[in-house]
């Protein structure tokens, strides 16, 4: 449709020096985003990258697109305004777990509820980095941080569960180090019409180093991660022989070839299923009993907010005799003197 746009990831690099700590997971995510955007076929000027406040929120400064580094927690609300005002733009929100789920939690759930067609990247490192190490809404209970020296006493959010609870239609999960998967998801998120939430498990080398280490551990990662792809069997493991089945109302790990289990018994991933229940179980899986689910877990089509708004405008315009402000001023009860 649109004219061919040939861009490379270099076109998306700004002239600003990237100031994240050496070894920070954000570097890998930035590269993934730049590479993915180069492949989207969208002209550079149509990207608007919006962030709140936090380490991850410096993101827009490093992107050679239109960018807006806003205020704490408000990235999603500001991006909503950008997209509603100009639906032609490809709008990206970069949030941390504190920014997006604590101070910005209200905007996060309402964004999902409205289904505005934008993409929100939630960098989840389970810590407040920029303020130097306080627990966040995703910090595991009991974790000792600077503001919880004796361990947190709060239950953490699972971001995907929040998305489902807010009637969200799209949720995907990746890990900073898996750049290929991240790119694949980002391209899918852009193509999905509606609010796309992409959680990226991100490592903070300073304040929560190794927080996702259980899943990224080189030796065991294949047994501790399952990458879900729509239409494919939920199979994982070093030997590609582990699979997920439903056992009553719960998920269960089985081994193909054992106890009469064949590949046919393994669940097939249906990201387009409207009912959120299986998606919920997949999103909630965690170690050590289960692998963590990565990939596009939920991707359901629904009419987007700005389409509905524009449809109303078109409809009302067609029916109204008021075409400009002069008409408006002279509408209703008026009289001549």
């Amino acid at each position: 449709m649109a004219a061919e746009v040939k861009l490379t990831f270099k076109d998306f690099k700004s002239d600003q020096e990237v100031r994240w700590c050496a070894g920070c997971g954000d570097h890998a995510i930035l590269n993934s985003v730049q590479k993915a955007m180069a492949e989207m076929g969208i002209p550079k000027e149509k990207f608007a990258v919006i962030a709140g406040i936090g380490c991850s929120s410096r993101f827009p400064y490093y992107m050679n697109t239109y960018g807006f580094h806003t205020i704490h927690g408000r990235g999603a609300a500001i991006a909503s305004g950008v997209k509603v005002a100009n639906p032609d733009l490809s709008v990206w929100v970069v949030n941390g777990d504190g920014d997006g789920l604590a101070i910005g939690g209200n905007h996060f759930i309402h964004l999902n509820r409205r289904n505005i067609d934008l993409n929100l990247l939630l960098f989840n490192n389970e810590i407040y980095g920029l303020t130097k190490g306080q627990y966040s809404p995703t910090t595991k209970e009991g974790t000792k941080t600077k503001s919880s020296p004796f361990g947190t006493i709060e239950q953490p959010f699972n971001p995907g569960e929040l998305v489902l609870g807010a009637q969200g239609n799209y949720f995907a999960r990746s890990i900073d180090v898996n750049m290929k998967l991240t790119q694949e998801i980002l391209i899918d998120a852009e193509q999905h019409k509606g609010t796309s939430i992409v959680e990226i498990l991100q490592n903070c080398v300073i304040f929560s180093d190794g927080v996702h280490g259980f899943y990224t551990d080189k030796e065991n990662k294949l047994n501790r991660q399952i990458v879900l792809r729509h239409g494919e069997k939920m199979i994982f493991g070093k030997d590609n022989d582990k699979g997920l089945i439903l056992d009553g109302l719960k998920l269960k790990i089985v081994t193909v070839g054992e106890n009469g289990i064949t590949e046919d018994d393994i669940l097939t991933h249906d990201a387009h299923e409207e009912s959120p229940f299986l998606h919920w179980m997949l999103i909630s899986m965690k170690g050590p009993d289960f692998p963590i689910a990565l990939g596009v877990i939920r991707s359901v089509n629904a009419t987007v907010y700005e389409q509905k708004l524009n449809a109303q405008i078109v409809d009302v315009k067609a029916k109204s005799s008021i075409k400009n402000v002069n008409d408006l001023l002279h509408s209703g009860s008026i009289w001549e003197v």
Binding site: Y61, T70, G81, A85, N86, N106
Partner: protein, 615 residues
């Protein structure tokens, strides 16, 4: 003093106050009366006064809803005290008798003055008139409810529905009393109840029955009220909130930009959101946000994306928006913030009027955070100042707070409809195609305004944000000297708006004993008070501010020619302290009131006369 032999009482202007239970339809009754009066050539001003509760306990003083109409010749306020009070129940009488002129007329619904209702209203005896010492008033005790029932008894309507029309009986009586035509109201019934002809007929019947009742009873002496001197033109009635909404749409049209409103419901500002959400025919996008912060945040996003963006609120909402306003300050994005002020602090008096958000608008943010602040002063000029707010925001790339208040928002007046041909084009400084080496903070040397590149425009990709920006390039900068430069530039940019706003006008001589100063919604009361004093030969003039930050360039010249200056405002002296900080060389006296009510002209004149007498 009314002499029963007189056939007609002639007056320049009359105040009538409709009051009843909040479910009695008094707001509609008052609106219909004022619409008819305006249509017949009267000047009018109205003041609705209603409780915050949607259904306050029935029959109690707390649940009384009132609507005051002032009409006649040269009208600038809804009037201090009523010539005629309509009280549909004992609570309405209890609440409003004190707002009626001595010797004025009070029309009561005789049928509503039952023992139970009297008790609910707090009367100790069965004679409210005697108990409240209302012997000096002309009391017209009319069987309004039962006459309404009688009029509609053959319609087959149930009693509850029938009694809902009793306000139209009272309205009919007032139409007789003030020689008003019924046609304008009858037409209203016809369009409002298009789908239920029975209701049209019932209302018409009751209205007419009330009119005839007025004609037939002896106690009612009709009034002849002077018409206004009205400039020829096309007129409509308008309230402040509608005028504000329309002014914003007008600014968007003249700027050739889409209008986006991100708002959260809050009394008394919500009607602006209602009105804008209705105007999809003009392409207006409204976004009812999840909270006040998302309201302004979405607006800032829309502004970044190239729309004329507005957010509408009242004092508590403005407080929640402060951090985001700061973001619009440092990113130098155009944004209109409408604050319809109400009584504060905290939730305060949501349905009452006050001017106590001025300092919040001027200073209520972290950091050195200057913005433009302007204020409307009549219900209809909310249109003009909303337009101005949009114009200043777009042409100077800045947030602008437009202050109105509950009194302006809900008050109505006839408005000579302006032609949009007479409004200027608004020229936002959108970067011109072909500009090379675009830098987001490169400024126009004359007014220090930066150029605006909008996402979607190829070649001007750039980043802005809440961190301090390097002069010109807009890169993040922590350089101490640069912070000083940018702080000074932001302040100066706002100050330079003064070159484009009109001079402060003096009403009266440009020198004398006393200068009365006001701002915002108190204009009508101050004008009327000063005008009456001038007619009495007093050396008093009046200057009213619509432009608050920056102030008009001639402000000092106006102030210096008077022996005394008094600043009258509905707060504890916020504009006074602002003027003291800008022009410390003058001595300012204050007249303040914080009761959730407008001034009365009488109290203003009393106070100003005292000031004139003091040595």
């Amino acid at each position: 003093m009314t002499d029963k032999i007189d056939k007609v009482i002639e007056l320049d202007h009359v105040v009538i106050r409709f009051s009843g239970d909040s479910g009695d339809g008094m707001q509609l009754t008052g609106t219909l009366f004022s619409d008819t009066s305006a249509y017949m050539g009267s000047g009018i001003a109205t003041f609705p006064d209603y409780p915050a509760e949607i259904r306050a306990p029935q029959g109690t003083v707390g649940g009384v809803s009132g609507f005051q109409v002032h009409f006649g010749y040269d009208i600038h306020t809804p009037g201090d005290y009523a010539d005629v009070l309509v009280a549909m129940n004992p609570a309405a009488l209890k609440a409003n008798a004190k707002w009626t002129k001595q010797g004025g007329s009070i029309i009561i619904d005789h049928d509503a003055f039952t023992a139970k209702n009297l008790e609910k209203a707090g009367y100790k005896t069965d004679n409210a008139i005697e108990e409240d010492n209302l012997g000096g008033f002309n009391i017209i005790s009319a069987p309004i409810s039962s006459m309404t029932q009688e009029t509609l008894k053959d319609t087959g309507m149930d009693n509850k529905t029938i009694l809902r029309s009793k306000n139209m009986f009272a309205l009919g009586m007032c139409y007789y009393l003030f020689d008003r035509e019924l046609t304008f109201t009858e037409k209203f019934f016809e369009s409002k109840f298009k789908k239920v002809p029975a209701v049209i007929e019932a209302n018409k019947k009751v209205l007419k029955a009330g009119f005839n009742y007025g004609y037939n009873v002896q106690e009612l002496t009709p009034y002849k009220v002077a018409a206004a001197e009205i400039v020829n033109g096309t007129y409509r009635n308008i309230n402040g909130n509608t005028a504000t909404a329309w002014g914003l749409v007008a600014a968007a049209e003249k700027a050739n930009l889409p209008l986006f409103c991100g708002s959260y419901p809050i009394t008394p500002a919500t009607d602006i959101l209602h009105e804008l959400s209705y105007l999809k025919n003009l392409g207006v996008k409204t976004f009812q946000a999840e909270d006040e912060i998302a309201g302004i945040s979405s607006a800032i996003g829309a502004s970044f994306a190239g729309n004329l963006a507005v957010t509408t609120t009242s004092g508590p909402g403005l407080a929640l928006k402060s951090e985001a306003i700061g973001l619009a300050v440092i990113t130098e994005l155009p944004l209109v913030i409408v604050d319809v002020q109400r009584g504060g602090p905290s939730t305060g008096l949501p349905t009452k009027t006050e001017q106590s958000d001025l300092l919040q608008a001027l200073y209520g943010r972290n950091g050195e955070s200057p913005i433009a602040v302007i204020a409307a002063s009549t219900p209809s000029n909310c249109f003009h100042y909303a337009f101005e707010a949009g114009k200043i925001a777009l042409e100077h790339m800045t947030p602008v707070v437009l202050l109105t208040d509950g009194f302006l928002a809900n008050g109505t007046q006839p408005w000579k409809i302006p032609s949009m041909d007479n409004y200027p084009e608004i020229k936002a400084p959108i970067v011109k195609e072909g500009t090379e080496n675009y830098m987001p903070y490169l400024r126009n040397e004359d007014n220090l305004v930066r150029e605006w590149a909008i996402p979607g425009m190829p070649g001007y990709e750039h980043r802005i944000g809440g961190l301090e920006k390097m002069d010109k390039t807009g890169a993040v900068s922590y350089v101490p000297e640069n912070h000083q430069i940018m702080t000074d530039l932001r302040e100066k940019k706002i100050a330079l708006i003064a070159n484009e706003i009109p001079d402060l006008e003096i009403i009266g001589k440009d020198n004398g004993d006393l200068l009365v100063i006001g701002w915002g919604g108190t204009y009508g009361h101050l004008l009327t008070a000063v005008h009456d004093m001038q007619l009495a030969g007093k050396s008093v003039s009046f200057a009213h501010f619509n432009y608050i930050k920056p102030l008009p360039l001639n402000t000092r010249d106006v102030l210096k020619k008077f022996k005394k200056i008094v600043i009258a405002e509905l707060n504890n002296g916020q504009f006074a302290s602002y003027l003291r900080s800008v022009f410390p060389e003058f001595k300012y006296q204050q007249y303040n009131k914080v009761m959730g009510l407008p001034f009365t002209c009488i109290e203003l004149m009393d106070n100003f006369n005292k000031l004139l007498e003091e040595k």
